[in-house]
Symmetry: D2
């Protein structure tokens, strides 16, 4: 909207604050997505082929938690850099076409639409579980799944069983809506606190400086971001070091060293 010059007032992109996306999206989504899947299904994660579609912050958080729960994690990602990071982080990386054949659980965290679609459903194993923890319920192409199925029934809260024409069953969780919100309680308060602090402190900032800002999208000021992290550490009883004046100078300089 900024590009199209249709913003009516200055905006602070709170979601891009480090104390927001590095924590809420990663640690919050990671834990709460696994939590949502467990509450919906009570499966044992250990030993499963757990397919994470998308390796942004949410995907990274989810992948590490699924691995930590004993799964064999498979990552699908369209960006070559992120895909390579996933490889180096120890995950199996492959196209979704390949993953569709072996996955036990699939979770979309891409922010895009029609990510798991007809051709993937056609390849899935009997009993595959499909969920979304990205933006909306458009990541999974549910109309295609409906079209492929001869029967659909709710077998448990948040679990819909689709019986395909060849008899295979696919389980869709929470109607494709965010599974951590649908079946669990969303992010824990202790990670949302930082997100809310960003919102609150950004509003204060706008109140103070907003008049001088243009109708653009601004990042959360680094001082706010740092201050939130500092307060959070303090509440956890953790103290860290400070740079000495000499160290600060050394870091800034290029004359000493090399």
């Amino acid at each position: 909207m900024a590009k199209d010059k249709v913003l009516a007032y200055p905006i602070i992109a709170v979601n891009d604050a480090n104390t927001k996306h590095l924590f809420d999206n990663r640690y919050g989504t990671g834990q709460s997505t696994v939590d949502g899947i467990l509450r919906a299904t009570n499966i044992l994660i250990s030993g499963l082929n757990f397919v994470v579609v998308g390796y942004g912050w949410c995907g990274r958080g989810l992948a590490i938690r699924a691995k930590g729960a004993g799964a064999k994690v498979i990552v699908c990602e369209v960006d070559p850099l992120r895909a390579l990071e996933a490889v180096m982080d120890g995950y199996q990386v492959m196209s979704l076409k390949e993953a569709a054949k072996i996955g036990d659980v699939f979770v979309t965290v891409t922010g895009d639409k029609n990510v798991i679609t007809k051709s993937h459903f056609q390849k899935m194993k009997d009993g595959a579980i499909v969920a979304n923890s990205g933006h909306f319920n458009v990541e999974i192409d549910i109309p295609s799944l409906e079209a492929l199925s001869q029967k659909k029934r709710k077998i448990k809260e948040f679990v819909e069983e689709y019986t395909l024409d060849d008899g295979r069953k696919i389980f869709l969780l929470g109607e494709g809506r965010l599974i951590n919100l649908a079946a669990a309680e969303g992010h824990p308060a202790v990670v949302m606190d930082m997100s809310f602090a960003n919102q609150a402190m950004s509003v204060l900032f706008l109140l103070d400086k907003g008049k001088k800002l243009e109708k653009q999208v601004y990042p959360v000021p680094k001082e706010i971001d740092d201050e939130i992290a500092r307060m959070k550490l303090k509440t956890m009883g953790i103290s860290i070091d400070k740079l000495t004046a000499e160290q600060r100078k050394y870091l800034a300089g290029w004359e000493e060293g090399t």
Copy 2:
């Protein structure tokens, strides 16, 4: 009871079967205990000091899952060998007396009684969470906690807040009963299947051979244990190798080699 010669009939110790205790106790308890704590509290596990009291199979399963969820895991164990394994497995190991001061969450998985007791509650931080995933609700010395408290109230299903005389609050989950059964759904079906298979196949074995057995405790026969593991792998679509005759002979012999 066998020692005291008061057994009325032969017993098969199904809990000692490898396909039972190596799986149900370890992977089942590990996952479902974290699950129970999350359903009761919705805390973020990442970054917490998570104290696992007892490093048997349940404790190992719990420790690895808590670590996998991002916690800093502390293990307390009375057996020196197990304590040393916990150290080598990368956990902080200390006496419960020391751990009491820094833990955010405490879970007992010892099979013993009065494990967390008065002197520990006295040292805990404000906000500490205490739960049990061992045998019974005797692992946590609840009467001591009651005696130390000026007030007690249920703040949420499965969460009781005890306010100590000095104002600190300690949260007891599920009244000290097994938290994975109290607040979650117990072990996933896919791990209990092996435990039930052990029970079923052991009953068949007793039916067949029971007449010839003494009034003692017998282990689950190895063939049954192996057969269950083999069937389980098959249902997961996993195939493994078999020893060749030559390899079998080599393993049994002492003449070749060295």
Copy 3:
């Protein structure tokens, strides 16, 4: 030999002591095998398909270290129980026949012979690395590899390049001998100390009690094992709890509780 009654004197199976095989075989072999491979090849472990053949203590130690170094670990194991544990521990488990096609590095830790053999070499990718960290240089069927190759040359200390008839290259490390001894320095002193303590204290035990023992294989007495663990913890500055008299009684009894 005990079975064949050809033992000339009583034996204590030091290798079976917990403070030996749980530590030396697992943590020692795990670290030193990866170390040996790195010193020989200087490859980056992250992102590789690392095939561990055998899931005994050595195999477990190696698998966890390779995973910890960022590899995608594949476990091959003939025992169904162990294979199932490997699955639940989050590893890919498959037959060596399948693994042969995708592995980047293969390490045998089985204690058996001809584990990696002709049919496996025929399937391997160009550039595959093969090493042994089990008992002897019989785990890898080197004569078969020689027979399949048109050329062989040493490209670096501990690294032999075999060029197969179709041009693929396979790298054999340390001539198939224990790679942690061949290319690295074997187990660290701090884990061997416990193994040596077992040997020393078992010799003292034999000196004291040997006259009364039969020509059989005896385990290391539990008191020795425990004492070694206790001393080791002490040198690490770690203190653990002791059972109270009440707790000891509770554990031994069957009357209280359920």
Copy 4:
């Protein structure tokens, strides 16, 4: 230098390319630093208190590898955001002053000077090991260590033993120079390949476009970065998905959705 307008020609900051710093600094430094320490000392990493000073890319890589090797990792970091990430990643985070008392191994990866200094040496345990894997040999304040010591001797290649006035011994590795270069072979070729590709392709870019650039520091163009990642995946035999036109449009738009 750009700020001071003293650059003589346009510069491309190759070290900031994603395919450089995300891989070489993280995965390369992580593995090779542990490798260097092992070659110098042959200690067992499992169970040690391993202090990583600095949680940039090098520090992250080192922390995850040390954890993967079984260590209890402690992170020291001056930036509150990074410190908080380290906490959430499951590490113990504390000031170096506190860590100095309990660490078994200390590694600096800060890019700054005098990070481990007099007051820290004074608190260290007998037998502590100190190494650097950051920029230069200025991260460890060696003159202070010298001044505190009554004796110094080389006990092994790359290992210098300093005996302090109170008899405690501190071991300095590789004279404080980069331990992965001093005692091991630096980064594996398979991660340096991407760094070199960045250099080569950036030089080609400068040749082509350099005339039109100002005397500033430029980032590596994203197309170059992506292309290198794509080639790397290809050499690993890994194929990934591509966005459909519909998906590309959805990601770019703000009209559909929410």
